[in-house]
């Protein structure tokens, strides 16, 4: 095929951006898959060892126990944030949708934390949850509930929940405004028709609003799922790379990073095991996210 002047022009436009995506996104992802099948000596690639790395992280102790522990925490985080972030976000959106006086201000306020860096949010809540001087415990003592004051981040029974609360505060605005945008697209005629039929808010929510914002629900569910299984920054800042105390806040993101680059107490970096973990997390996220998307898409109603 001979290149015309226009052909060269199009090539010149399209090749540099494609090169960036190919080199810094597609290639690393593909490479991550191949790395997992090799034995790594530090930064040097050794022999091809088939599925040995996968076998190790899934079935050999202590790796298998660490994997199970982290994976369980990711599931807890996902379920808890589903309620605290997406569930609460839906009802907040419903409240904002009414456009009562001040709605615009409330909308701006709920989205404000979303623009902050996770690092800032993490440290802020770490200071707030300080056992002696944090505002959480000071407030509890102030209202006579000093008995409930806890070292929130320092004991394994509450640490993961403390992180979940911080994350919910940080990200609540996102599902809220996505749901709100979905609600604002519901045709007014449809709402008027429902208002004639029923006075019950509950019926309105469950029978009309919820089914009609299904496309928004699909998006925030899938994004939360991917986010929950990629969780890294917040636990890194608030609980540290080891998922302290005693691994009670360890999640796959931290475990992967520790395995790949070496943790505070867990010794040598191991690119082979790290890549095997990355591939497993990647395949898991891709598989489940596609299933969720297909299942949820099926219940969306086209307006």
């Amino acid at each position: 095929m001979r290149m015309t002047g226009r052909g060269w022009w199009i090539t010149a436009l399209i090749v540099p951006p494609m090169a960036f995506v190919a080199l810094f996104i597609i290639y690393p992802i593909v490479a991550a898959f191949t790395y997992a099948f090799f034995d790594w000596q530090g930064l040097l690639r050794g022999d091809f060892i088939g599925l040995a790395n996968f076998h190790k992280v899934l079935f050999e102790e202590p790796y298998a126990a660490w994997t199970r522990n982290a994976f369980t925490h990711n599931i807890m985080v996902f379920v808890a944030l589903m309620v605290l972030q997406n569930g609460l976000g839906f009802f907040l959106a419903y409240a904002l949708w009414r456009e009562l006086p001040g709605a615009r201000f409330h909308r701006i306020a709920v989205f404000l934390p979303v623009v902050l860096s996770t690092v800032i949010v993490g440290y802020l809540f770490k200071l707030f949850m300080h056992p002696l001087f944090g505002v959480f415990n000071i407030s509890l003592r102030g209202i006579g509930l000093g008995g409930l004051a806890q070292p929130w981040l320092g004991q394994d029974s509450t640490a993961l929940w403390a992180l979940i609360i911080a994350n919910a505060w940080h990200m609540l605005g996102f599902p809220t405004l996505v749901f709100l945008a979905g609600m604002q697209r519901i045709p007014t005629e449809m709402l008027d028709a429902v208002r004639m039929e029923t006075q019950s808010e509950w019926v309105k929510i469950t029978k009309i609003v919820w089914p009609l914002v299904a496309p928004s629900a699909t998006v925030v569910f899938v994004l939360l799922f991917v986010g929950a299984f990629n969780w890294f920054e917040l636990p890194y800042i608030m609980a540290g790379l080891d998922g302290s105390p005693y691994g009670s806040t360890d999640v796959l993101g931290l475990y992967f990073y520790r395995t790949a680059f070496g943790g505070v107490s867990s010794g040598q970096p191991n690119f082979g095991l790290g890549s095997a973990l990355a591939v497993l997390i990647f395949v898991f996220i891709a598989a489940i996210a596609s299933v969720i998307t297909v299942r949820l898409r099926a219940r969306e109603i086209q307006l």
Binding site: G102, P113, V115, L124
Partner: protein, 287 residues
């Protein structure tokens, strides 16, 4: 039929409506307090001494007391981090917008073999969680000799920003009318001149959306600097903040002042451009 109550309010009665709206308003106000309180406590504490923070964490501070900020100014690398963040974010955004517009223009204005495939190629990049490819990226950066160099960050951010930018802008550029372009072509203008002088001024609105969608995650990113950058003088703001927080653990006034300073630029821009931020950052999730 005209006797039928035709609004919601008639059937409910005004009292019921007020009660319900009142409840909603209370919920909204309570939520807004919860959203803003941590930020206000952070801001107030930045102007207090550590003793004052411990004694009255909710009290109103003396805003003329700038001791904590002076300490940060004189004793830390904070300004350096801030400057680095500006450089990295600015360079990445410039590259994203230039390269993104180039690709989107080619895909949106010309019909050519493989265009559909190329668009799919970019969209694939949209959904891949790049954090999981950090090991190959680390080795790639080492082989390119740009570990511990801000170019590593700029390149990764550019690649991460391109898929959404190409996606948003291709859709927009496709909708632009053909007439202007055809007229210019009849007059013998070159393709490059048509793009630069005629079409680009029209795509600015899409560029703004693409810019906002990408600028916040890049400005806030912590993961890639953590892996790529070791040299303190090259750290970006979120990464530098971790160093800073580690050094001043007991001086809470300085800690809160540091957090306030890090949060200030983005909060200030958000307050001015809240509508653009909200629509830009949620646009990926809204069809």
């Amino acid at each position: 039929m005209s006797a039928e109550p035709n609004t919601y309010y008639d059937r409910r009665g005004i009292i019921g409506t007020l009660g319900r709206d009142g409840l909603i308003q209370i919920i909204l106000v309570a939520n807004t307090v919860i959203m803003l309180a941590p930020i206000l406590i952070m801001l107030f504490s930045a102007f207090k001494s550590t003793q004052q923070i411990f004694k009255s964490p909710f009290g109103f501070p003396d805003f003329a007391n700038l001791t904590n900020f002076t300490k940060i100014w004189e004793q830390t690398n904070f300004l350096r981090y801030l400057l680095n963040s500006f450089v990295v974010t600015g360079a990445s955004m410039a590259l994203i917008l230039i390269l993104g517009t180039m690709a989107a223009y080619a895909l949106g204005r010309y019909r050519f073999f493989g265009a559909g495939f190329i668009l799919m190629f970019f969209i694939a990049g949209l959904t891949l969680p790049l954090k999981l490819a950090i090991i190959p990226l680390f080795i790639l950066m080492r082989d390119m000799g740009i570990l511990n160099n801000q170019l590593s960050l700029i390149f990764v951010y550019t690649a991460m920003g391109l898929p959404s930018t190409v996606f948003i802008m291709t859709g927009f550029i496709r909708t632009l009318p053909n007439e202007l372009e055809d007229a210019a072509r009849m007059d013998g203008a070159s393709e490059a001149r048509i793009m630069w002088a005629i079409m680009l001024p029209l795509v600015r609105p899409a560029m703004v959306i693409a810019a906002i969608q990408n600028v916040v995650p890049i400005w806030n990113d912590f993961f890639f600097p953590l892996v790529f950058i070791q040299n303190d003088a090259l750290k970006t703001l979120p990464q530098g903040l971790t160093t800073f927080m580690g050094e001043y653990t007991t001086d809470w006034g300085v800690l809160f002042a540091g957090l306030t300073l890090s949060a200030a630029p983005i909060i200030a821009i958000y307050i001015v451009l809240s509508r653009q931020f909200i629509s830009g950052m949620t646009s990926g999730a809204i069809k």
